[in-house]
Symmetry: C2
Subunit: 312 residues, 2 copies
């Protein structure tokens, strides 16, 4: 038995083609393309890649994407000033500040910056007001990754209502909002984490398992109820060839790919889970493409809401 593949790349492509009509409509009504402002501080290599991918996806979708680059030496106040200027800039529909900020900015820097973004332009969905509205079942701009997971499950015909869903990980950007969104769709939801006792037994109660902890291959077949649907949100860059060989086997294409590039991105879910699960989202090619698609959708929603403010 081998699990059905939940094809995030295909689902993302389908949603993006549907969004084209919205982009055209909004461009007409705004008199300009819907616009996304990305703030990138410093030189973190992974952040640069993420920003480039978002920029590219936005441009391909017909959005105007502007990347505001600040040096790693920038002060927190510089970032806050930029964000406040974008908040009141009528040509800016959505704002995204790429994480992480340089450590020198201080521990609370991210929190202060995310709090400063106008909730109506917060296309990452990280602002407390957007988090609260999600919990209350009336999201304005929901967080991109868990929204992408829901889209993947729904488009791939996975029933959520009435299931027992287990979320591994309790981060603010994936675990907690994921649990709330599954609950909203009538799943019974368990959230487990590093302090959970006998985590394997808890995960084994899940009809749907979403893992978002960032530990390569942590979720093994023994932890999965036969026939469960498994969604892998983990994406850990791996530079240790031994890990890739151990997970995928010495002859696998993943090892060949690793040997060409010197690194690869590995999910939380061990490949052998495919022997037990009924469906499985791969890494890469699973949730990742959906996350960026949801960012595009949020940008369109933010632009639309600015055209016709709701009676809030």
């Amino acid at each position: 038995m081998s699990a059905r593949r939940l094809d995030g790349t295909a689902v993302a492509a389908a949603i993006r083609s549907e969004l084209a009509a919205d982009v055209a409509e909004l461009t007409r009504r705004l008199g300009r393309p819907p616009s996304l402002s990305i703030v990138l501080v410093g030189d973190d290599p992974a952040s640069k890649v993420y920003v480039r991918n978002k920029e590219k996806a936005g441009a391909e979708a017909g959005l105007a994407v502007t990347v505001h680059r600040l040096p790693a030496t920038a002060a927190l106040d510089d970032v806050l000033s930029l964000v406040r200027a974008l908040n009141v800039d009528d040509r800016c529909d959505g704002i995204l500040v790429q994480s992480p900020l340089p450590p020198a900015m201080g521990k609370q820097a991210s929190e202060q910056v995310f709090d400063a973004i106008a909730p109506a332009k917060d296309v990452d969905g990280f602002h407390a007001e957007n988090v609260g509205r999600l919990v209350q079942g009336r999201p304005l701009l929901p967080p991109c990754t868990p929204t992408g997971v829901i889209a993947l499950l729904e488009r791939e015909g996975v029933r959520i209502a009435g299931t027992h869903a287990v979320v591994i990980g309790r981060s603010d950007i994936v675990g907690k909002p994921m649990a709330m969104m599954l609950l909203q769709r009538d799943a019974t939801v368990t959230i487990c984490h590093s302090k959970t006792k006998d985590l394997a037994a808890v995960v084994r109660t899940g009809d749907i398992v979403v893992s978002a902890i960032g530990r390569p291959g942590y979720v093994t077949p023994e932890m999965i109820k036969p026939g469960a649907v498994v969604v892998d949100v983990g994406t850990t860059p791996v530079e240790d060839r031994g890990i890739v060989v151990r997970l995928f086997g010495p002859e696998s294409p993943r090892v060949a790919s690793f040997d060409r590039r010197g690194s690869t991105v590995v999910g939380d879910v061990h490949p052998a889970v495919a022997e037990v699960a009924s469906a499985l989202s791969p890494v890469p090619g699973g949730v990742g493409p959906l996350t960026i698609t949801m960012l595009l959708r949020n940008t369109l929603e933010a632009a639309r809401a600015r055209l016709a403010p709701a009676g809030r």
Copy 2:
């Protein structure tokens, strides 16, 4: 075997006596007592009782409590105008609009009113921004009932970290924030509800069970793992003598009390659960007194934050 009683009345009294020093300090610094404004719309008998209890508890604690009464025929705009006036009234520290609003005001009325309350004065903790901050683990004004449950457990020496906590009910004001607060304290958390399959089996996995569904006696001993700690948040007014007799037995003091008053308040948890659980919060005398105490504490926190605005 009989469960230890989690004595909410005693815990609430202890916390209120600790709050006296805060009331004195804030009264000195403000030049007036910390103040709570309660908005009561219409003539719902239960609402009147709740407001009277809050008014009484506030006055006993040395707070200035003002009840703003509007007739059942008031327009939504009247309520919104009052709330907006209180938002900018420097003598008002906390605002509470008693639920429910008259049905004639429309389905979205409560939502619109709660959205209109300034988050910094939202002593019920219902505003989306307060909900979001709770989820993010940095509450300003947390919702009173789940905060009261946490206080009851902690003061009664119940360990939360490392347990499996099951929350029955997914309301915005109890179930969802309760789950987030237990998670924050390192419990593994399951949220179940009316759409949960084999709810008894799910609840039986709980080391801590919090029930907040408002169904008298619904949680029976078969649903409880022996030795679990059970917190009863349900409070349903019962006017059917048969239910009271069936739950408590014909000779019980509860039936005698019912016969004197013509009604009684019954929790979600069947009295026989005391034979299985290691600890149990009663109704009445469990979470109820804590809820009002947390309202007083939130009012003091709101007053304190207005004196020294944090760097938000």
